[in-house]
């Protein structure tokens, strides 16, 4: 089982009394605003949860594992997530279960 957008919307309307349309809009906007910030090249810091950061990777040599053909992996910007202390502690305890 995985937590999906539909589950988040469901729980939001149950907990805060939002109707389905409001809950859906707020959840979609939450993820969209994070995407837009990262698109602008701006990292996102959500205290207690974690930070979404950007890394610029230079071009590097790659290889097609099937054909063994050498093909360069182009330069790219990637998103990385660094979990916050609170989230790390919460998740760590899962090791006991």
């Amino acid at each position: 089982m995985a937590l999906t957008k539909a589950d988040v919307i469901e729980q939001l309307s149950a907990a805060l009394g939002f109707n389905k349309r409001e809950a859906k809009e707020v959840v979609e906007m939450f993820f969209e605003q994070i995407r837009e910030s990262l698109e602008r090249g701006e990292q996102v810091k959500l205290s207690g949860f974690g930070n979404f950061e950007l890394r610029d990777k230079a071009e590097r040599p790659g290889r097609n594992p099937k054909t063994k053909e050498e093909i360069p992996i182009s330069a790219r910007r990637v998103v990385t997530f660094r979990p916050g202390q609170k989230l790390k502690e919460k998740v760590d305890q899962h090791a006991g279960s």
Partner: protein, 96 residues
């Protein structure tokens, strides 16, 4: 962008909900995500990405100051894999 910048941006962009409602919603969304991961349940948000747990085997660590060995138990750490839409948008915006 911080959590309060995110709340401001969301409150500005829509008219259905009050600032207070948006604030509560953001806190609740993050709580749900943390709770889900802390029970070992993965998170899958299409177009954004997925969060899973990665296992870390027990190891012998060392106190860098005293040089003393300390045994560290196994643990789980959160891992995020960006979804295709997020990957493509960020990379395209960077001019690659």
């Amino acid at each position: 962008m911080t959590k309060s910048d995110l709340i401001d941006a969301m409150a500005d962009k829509q008219s259905l909900l009050s600032y207070r409602d948006v604030e509560l919603a953001v806190k609740l969304i993050l709580d749900q995500m943390s709770n889900s991961l802390s029970t070992g349940e993965r998170i899958e948000i299409r177009g954004f990405g997925s969060f899973t747990l990665h296992h870390r085997a027990p190891r012998i660590g060392r106190n860098p100051k005293s040089g003393e060995s300390v045994s560290l138990g196994e643990k789980y750490v959160p891992h995020f894999k960006p979804g295709k839409e997020l990957r493509d948008r960020v990379n395209t915006a960077a001019g690659n």
